[in-house]
């Protein structure tokens, strides 16, 4: 070390100040590493490696987490986020509890976006022709080219395509295109909801997507809308659905879903109608006809116009076309018309067929007929998604590109090469553009075909704002400095900053002058918020308003409710969709809850969380109706070739008992060609090669025609018929769930609605009445931590699975290991087929049950598994020898063994939670009920001089759950939510008869149309 007082770098290449800084922040690490080589290496690092800020901003105290509010930009929903920053790195994302849209919850993709932030394939710096280049050179190359266009007054030869940007960035982009005389910006979203807007325009006179007040609906009729998966704002709607649907205060709403495929949303429906593909419009009109014929429409409805619309609609014929019996159509129509607060929504396949607009108009008319508009459908609080450009705009741009009319194309964080149908020719047209500039943070198919890439920072590293819906404006702030990769921070700028500097260079203006005068995008955002301050600030100084908005995560106001016009839409034909091609099966193409339109597919967490319906992890698959599978001799994993008039793809088959026999279904989002090294098989284990392959599956977009729907300009996803051929090859799927039949083993329990109501009145029989114990009850002096999982509320979205992995440093193991029962996730989301004919799907999050009488504890020879005084079933990693006896003896099989030394490819390791140990090979691990959060909660309470209150401590899974299906707390506290729920008459313990006395209580799913209580349907079959 240098002499005291000397400030120059010492022999280890660091000065005294830096040394102390490191020692102070990493004392534990140094102590653990000892005085050997590791310690030297650690000290040899530059301080920026430990804390990415050279001068740490206020609020970042080493070892203490700081929280920053921002907006989730993983999809266009715009949920509020709180980023947990620990020592300069974001290690966990949670929903912003104050945000009116998601109220603290976050979906699986939102949780997983940290793996996008720390993605090993992120661009380290600017790229030109696929190779690294100096930023200034690349910017000059692009700037000069644009400048030449501007000078020649050929702005029309410049185009900017961005994702949906509703806030300052969108406005800046528009100012940018204006200043440069470029073509109007296209806000391109692959899932654009064009037909929904067109239908609203036609039926209500409003070109917008309204707020659907699902929570207030007593009867929800969905035509294909996957509102629990991707539709508009799934987190908000899942919460609303749980409130609407749960049995409470004697009231429970009904949810009927119409879709040819049993999606996750359909699996949550009280009644799922399987219609022939493309007949949703026919069904809606038939229901409307029934309502009108029987005069059940609302008084305020314009019956004349409605009658005109359904003129000539025949219910019997509709039943024949759709395959839904006429009695069912009539019954649903009656129930719908009679219900208090009825609401019909359309989406999914219904929203993207060849007659999508007509179909959605029919759905809108159903809403008009029951007077839902203004009640459960509220214009004014219009969703952000109503502000996208259309696919037709992109198709036009493609034509212009192909015709050589575009010289410079700027693509801001969009991936049209993947998202547009192959037939659209976008990729080919791209080659005709002189200069393609991609602003993106990670490689995509589009960046691979771009001339240059200027790395845009991740949304979590950038300033900005985003309005999830009108009136709810979320404010984005950098939650950390740019991620450090290969020893230095990524060389990138936020999209706004790149555009400002590029624009000024093109215009030849300087900072502070001209149309793009702002020094930085942050300055621009602040300026934009001056206006909001006047509107929402209540007379506060701007600095205070700004500070407050940053803390809160934005401003929320109530927008004006505009009048809804009445538009005479004339007669609707009610024709079923005509599909192109002479194939045998309609191709159903649906957005995936895990990958959305494909942008999230590069996150290993999402690939590893199995699709909840099929339980397939990694890779893609095609759902084939079991009838066809039998005929073709297809088993799970047998490769099938799907051929449409526009192309063909090959995928492993997943025979489905539930899919409409005339359809096959493929999820969007896979079949990528990510050029990154990670995608081509990165190493996750230390010692052996590992198949972490993000490019699995196949994109069904290769089968689609390129023509947009005439009425709306959207891309029809339901457009072709495909033929199936068995290739003879096999690609086994990784399916961790061995069977969907629980053989009535007290795993997934259901209870009829009537019985559930009765049980609420009668109350619960005393605990342990049926299984008395010979032993005295276990005593817990202060706390007994426990959980209650309301299976009735669980929709199967798996947000908890990824939230848990993020919080608890759970490694990703890859396809082969998942297939071989070695997945490491501490939670698994099981799907069980229950009830009559196995028609009821029960989603069961299964994790360590923290048994009072835990079978794992006595068998451990070294006390690595032991019972704490707070009722936790603890696992001491340091003590574990790895006999795995506990794993055998756990009847729930929730213990995970470290079969290998799992590693995190840098910089994914920067996401690791420092409060949780990374487990070594050879030790057992499992759910700890987030013991690190329990300890923090207890410490905070002790510092405040009080006991832990209910709600102080939230586990990661509970925190993120959109439907609040999981409760956690002290079971000794009578008033705690968890205690109350645990005593619910619907409560049961999984495998109760084994007498393990779990701390986790499940609440049986309430099923309409089933009789009897849970436990009533015994009688095992062997």
């Amino acid at each position: 070390m240098s002499e005291p007082g000397e400030s120059g770098p010492g022999p280890t290449g660091m000065n005294r100040r830096a040394f102390f800084k490191i020692v102070a922040t990493s004392g534990a690490a140094v102590a653990a590493a000892g005085c050997g080589k590791e310690a030297e290496e650690l000290l040899g690092q530059t301080p920026t490696k430990l804390i990415p800020y050279v001068v740490p901003p206020d609020g970042i105290v080493p070892g203490v987490a700081a929280y920053f509010s921002t907006v989730c930009r993983e999809c266009p929903s715009g949920c509020g986020l709180v980023a947990k920053n620990r020592d300069g790195r974001v290690i966990k994302l949670e929903g912003n509890p104050d945000h009116p849209v998601n109220a603290g919850a976050l979906c699986i993709r939102g949780q997983a976006q940290l793996q996008g932030l720390y993605h090993p394939d992120r661009f380290r710096g600017a790229q030109s022709g696929g190779k690294g280049a100096a930023w200034d050179d690349v910017e000059k190359q692009a700037g000069d080219k644009i400048a030449a266009l501007v000078k020649a007054r050929q702005g029309r030869r410049l185009a900017l395509v961005s994702g949906l940007e509703t806030g300052s960035l969108g406005r800046l982009m528009d100012e940018w295109t204006r200043a440069l005389g470029a073509r109007p910006r296209i806000a391109y979203e692959a899932l654009g909801y064009e037909a929904l807007r067109a239908a609203n325009r036609a039926a209500f006179g409003r070109d917008a997507i309204p707020h659907y007040a699902i929570e207030e609906a007593g009867y929800l009729l969905s035509f294909g809308a996957d509102f629990l998966e991707t539709w508009i704002n799934p987190v908000a709607y899942a919460g609303a659905f749980a409130r609407m649907h749960a049995l409470g205060r004697g009231r429970a709403g009904t949810f009927v879903h119409v879709e040819p495929r049993q999606s996750m949303t359909a699996a949550n429906a009280d009644e799922w109608l399987r219609n022939a593909p493309g007949t949703e419009g026919v069904l809606a009109l038939a229901m409307l006809q029934v309502i009108l014929e029987e005069g059940r429409h609302a008084k305020e409805a314009d019956a004349g116009a409605l009658r005109a619309a359904v003129k000539g609609v025949d219910v019997a014929k509709a039943a024949e076309i759709s395959g839904v019996p006429a009695e069912t159509i009539k019954r649903i129509a009656h129930d719908f018309a009679q219900a208090k607060g009825a609401l019909a929504i359309g989406g999914g396949v219904a929203m993207t067929g060849p007659h999508a607009t007509d179909t959605l108009i029919a759905v809108n008319l159903l809403n008009s007929a029951v007077g839902a508009v203004g009640k459960t459908i509220r214009f004014g609080a219009d969703a952000a998604l109503g502000k996208t450009g259309s696919y037709a705009d992109m198709a036009k741009l493609t034509q212009a590109m192909a015709a050589g009319e575009i010289d410079v194309l700027v693509l801001a964080d969009v991936n049209p090469v993947y998202n547009m149908p192959a037939k659209s020719g976008f990729a080919e047209a791209l080659a005709k553009v002189g200069l393609v500039v991609s602003l993106a943070n990670h490689p995509t198919e589009t960046t691979a075909k771009s001339t240059v890439v200027l790395p845009a920072l991740h949304a979590l590293e950038s300033w900005g704002d985003y309005a999830a819906r009108d009136g709810v404006i979320g404010l984005m702030q950098p939650t950390m400095g740019p991620v450090t990769m290969d020893g230095k921070p990524v060389d990138g700028k936020s999209t706004g900053d790149i555009l400002l500097s590029l624009g000024r260079r093109a215009l030849g203006t300087e900072e502070g002058k001209g149309p793009l005068k702002w020094g930085s995008f942050e300055e621009y955002v602040r300026e934009q918020w001056q206006g909001l301050a006047r509107q929402h600030g209540g007379g506060k100084a701007f600095a205070d308003f700004w500070e407050e908005s940053l803390r809160r995560g934005g401003v929320w106001g109530a927008p004006a409710t505009p009048a809804v016009g009445k538009v005479d839409i004339g007669r609707l034909t009610g024709e079923p969709a005509k599909l192109e091609g002479d194939g045998t099966h309609a191709l159903l193409l649906y957005p995936s809850i895990r990958f959305y339109d494909g942008r999230s597919a590069d996150k290993p967490w999402l690939q590893e969380a199995p699709d909840v319906m099929t339980q397939v992890a990694w890779d893609g698959w095609v759902e084939v109706p079991v009838e066809t599978a039998d005929k073709l001799g297809l088993g799970r994993g047998d490769m099938v070739k799907l051929t449409s008039p526009h192309g063909s793809i090959e995928l492993p088959a997943w025979p489905s008992k539930t899919l409409h026999p005339g359809a096959v279904a493929v999820a969007m989002g896979l079949g990528h060609d990510f050029p990154g090294a990670f995608a081509n098989g990165g190493r996750i284990r230390t010692n052996t090669e590992h198949d972490v392959f993000l490019n699995g599956g196949a994109s069904p977009l290769r089968l689609l025609p390129a023509a947009p729907e005439v009425a709306s300009g959207g891309l029809p996803h339901l457009a072709v018929k495909v033929s199936l051929t068995r290739t003879g090859a096999r690609r086994p799927l990784a399916i961790p769930q061995a069977t969907f039949d629980d053989e009535n083993r007290e795993i997934a329990e259901i209870v009829g609605l009537a019985a559930a109501r009765e049980m609420e009145l009668r109350g619960k029989s005393p605990e342990g009445a049926s299984f008395p114990s010979m032993y005295p009850p276990i005593k817990y002096p202060d706390y007994r931590w426990g959980m209650a999982v309301d299976v009735d509320a669980c929709t199967g979205c798996q947000a908890c699975v990824v939230a848990c992995s993020a919080e608890n440093n759970v490694p990703v193991v890859g396809k082969a290991q998942v297939a071989y029962g070695r997945a490491q996730q501490w939670i698994r989301l099981e799907r069980w087929e229950k009830g009559q004919g196995g028609k009821t799907n029960v989603f069961l999050p299964m994790f360590c049950q923290h048994c009072g009488v835990a079978p794992c504890e006595p068998v451990c020879p070294v006390y690595a598994a032991y019972h704490t005084a707070e009722g936790l079933n603890a696992q001491v990693y340091n003590r574990c020898v790895g006999t795995r006896y506990c794993g055998n003896n756990c009847p729930y099989h929730v213990r995970r063994f470290n079969w290998f030394n799992y590693t995190w490819t840098a910089p994914l390791d920067q996401q690791l939670n420092p409060d949780v140990a990374v487990r070594q090979l050879g030790v057992m691990e499992k759910c700890t009920m987030c013991i690190q959060r329990i300890e923090k909660g207890k410490n905070d309470a002790r510092e405040a001089g009080r006991a832990v209150k209910d709600g102080d401590i939230q586990t990661a899974c509970q925190q993120t759950c959109p439907t609040q299906a999981i409760s956690f707390g002290n079971l000794k506290e009578g008033a705690a939510r968890v205690t109350k729920l645990s005593a619910s008459p619907r409560s049961y313990h999984v495998l109760q008869q084994l007498g393990t006395r779990p701390a986790v209580t499940y609440l049986a799913k309430v099923v309409r149309g089933e009789t009897g209580g849970h436990g009533a349907e015994k009688g095992h079959k062997a």
């Binding site: 070695r822 068998v859 099989h893 050879g922 495998l991 095992h1020 062997a1022």
Partner: protein
């Protein structure tokens, strides 16, 4: 049953000579075999090293089969170890004279089988470098093993068994080694001298020797029953359907003796041939062992029936389903193979000629060993495969690594045994002489 006073029997001098010639310099064939066995063992050691380096994932274990072939083979070897002690201790106490010519080989087999079995807890542990934590040793952290865990019971049971077996074995060797000492020269003589503990054959030494031997036999006798009972508790104490049964202790002990006798036959038959010991190991011995195999097989069949009946009669879905799936799903062939090998094939010993027909004895013994290995495999791999939680049901597949280690364990055993028969008297000189005609009484002019 006496083989004593028949004409044409070897004299005492013949015994000394016949045994002493087995410990001479072995030929090339022997070394070739030793090399082969050592090579296989080397592969096993390499596979184990690879597994330690890579992690337990190198073996085919998974959820739900957190245990698989290692524990299977562990229980198999422990079982093998039982016949030796049964022959040497229990039959000694019962004065079953036919044991004299086979007990030394059986006892060596016991010691080596337990030594082989003892490797498996180490091979099996995820962090074998911490396996010593299972032993109660004083430490400044005041950490003790969990005495509730059957695995800790195993540690005690097996270490006790190994200790007693080794002591019993070495004590039994003393007079014989003294005989070899007297005949050998050089370094060999020195080693034998140390191991014979100054044996002179005096009357007082014989008196003490007899007492000690009887005492050790009495100590070893209960261990024959207890060790495998304790090993069976690894399963019986667990919750897994098909494991959680009071039947397991006698069931395992019987199976152990059954497989142990098969292994004795497997070793004795070639040994008799190679050493030309037809005068000492006769058809009577074969007949006696075949009868024991038959009896233990019948008892085992009874236990199998009990097991199935209990599953059915319990009325419990888990038990019934477990049995049903074991019999019908993946590895159902292994399930039925077990019954074929253990219950059907040994029935051939009801036929007197089969009991002395060498090829039949050999083949049946092989069947029994295969069947008993698969019995443990079925209990562990199939039992865990279809337990309480249907989500995690799955099939275990062996890997190259774990298979190589298993094969390597056999090589380890045979390496020890092959080494033993060339350096130690594998036929008990003393006890064989006891049952021969006394030279002073029956053969005038015979030598002592």
């Amino acid at each position: 049953m006496s083989v004593a006073t028949q004409p044409g029997q070897p004299s005492w001098a013949d015994v000394n000579r016949d045994v002493a010639r087995t410990v001479g310099m072995p030929g090339n064939t022997y070394f070739a075999w030793m090399c082969l066995v050592a090579l296989i063992l080397g592969c096993g050691v390499l596979a184990w090293a690879y597994q330690i380096w890579t992690g337990m994932g190198a073996a085919g274990k998974r959820t739900p089969q957190m245990w698989a072939m290692y524990i299977t083979t562990f229980v198999f070897w422990i079982g093998i170890g039982h016949a030796g002690t049964l022959i040497s201790a229990i039959l000694y106490l019962f004065r079953a004279k036919w044991r004299t010519s086979i007990y030394r080989g059986a006892e060596a087999m016991t010691v080596f089988a337990v030594m082989t079995a003892g490797l498996f807890p180490l091979i099996h542990a995820g962090r074998m470098w911490f396996a010593y934590w299972l032993t109660p040793y004083p430490n400044q952290r005041y950490l003790w093993p969990n005495f509730k865990s059957p695995l800790v019971w195993d540690v005690f049971a097996i270490s006790t068994y190994l200790t007693i077996s080794v002591v019993f074995f070495l004590v039994g060797l003393v007079p014989d080694i003294a005989a070899l000492r007297d005949q050998s020269t050089g370094v060999k003589k020195k080693i034998y001298a140390v191991m014979s503990l100054g044996w002179e054959g005096s009357d007082s030494q014989w008196r003490h020797y007899r007492r000690a031997y009887g005492l050790l036999a009495s100590l070893a006798t209960p261990l024959v029953l207890s060790v495998h009972s304790v090993v069976s508790f690894d399963f019986a104490m667990a919750l897994v359907p098909g494991w959680h049964s009071t039947l397991f202790a006698p069931f395992f002990v019987d199976g152990a003796i059954f497989s142990g006798f098969a292994m004795v036959l497997l070793l004795i038959i070639p040994m008799r041939y190679l050493f030309n010991w037809y005068a000492y190991i006769t058809d009577k011995h074969m007949d006696a062992m075949a009868k024991l195999i038959l009896v233990t097989s019948l008892v085992l069949t009874y236990f199998y029936i009990c097991e199935a009946f209990t599953s059915w009669y319990s009325g419990e879905h888990f038990e019934r389903a477990s049995l049903f799936y074991r019999a019908t799903r993946q590895y159902a062939w292994a399930f039925w193979l077990q019954y074929l090998c253990n219950s059907v094939v040994p029935l051939v010993f009801f036929w007197r000629k089969a009991r002395t027909h060498i090829a039949t004895l050999y083949i049946v013994s092989l069947f029994v060993l295969v069947g008993m290995w698969f019995e443990r495999f079925n209990i562990i791999v199939l039992g865990l495969g279809f337990d309480f939680y249907p989500y995690t049901w799955g099939t275990y597949y062996p890997t190259v690594t774990d298979s190589t280690i298993i094969v390597g364990s056999f090589a380890w055993f045979f390496l020890l045994f092959l080494g033993f028969i060339r350096v130690m008297p594998s036929l008990s000189i003393v006890e064989v002489k006891e049952v021969l005609a006394h030279p002073l009484k029956h053969a005038p002019g015979g030598r002592h």
